[in-house]
Symmetry: C2
Subunit: 82 residues, 2 copies
Amino acid sequence: MSLAQMGTELRCQCIKTESRFIHPRLMQIVDLIPSGPHCSNVEVIATLKSGQRVCLEPTAPWVIRIIKKILESSKPTPGSQL
Amino acid sequence: MSLAQMGTELRCQCIKTESRFIHPRLMQIVDLIPSGPHCSNVEVIATLKSGQRVCLEPTAPWVIRIIKKILESSKPTPGSQL
């Protein structure tokens, strides 16, 4: 399974992060990779609809906003907010 | 690329979501898949260190807390919070 393989890579995935805003509509998947023995950084990798994979800065306000927005767009139970 | 392939699947990935708490330390990757033409639900899929893939409920408070915690554990720039 390639997702698991990706996670078991014994190194960081991101060399640099994209600083320009990317519209969430262009994003197909957003991967959050917690820090761990393989990498001391939290990594956020967006797979765009074009197939391109882009590393995002997990502390950038627009990145946090996009993740929040994705989660908030799923709202069957009111009151569960970030 | 399998991540992109996963995103281009023309259907939802999750049939049911896990309601039991899973410790974030057991998570290798957390995938956020925004809703779209392929699926009207936002999907959150955790790949565990065991390799198991588990669908999480995006509106569950513990799921939101874990995502927040992963992002907050990356803090080079103070003040960027969820």
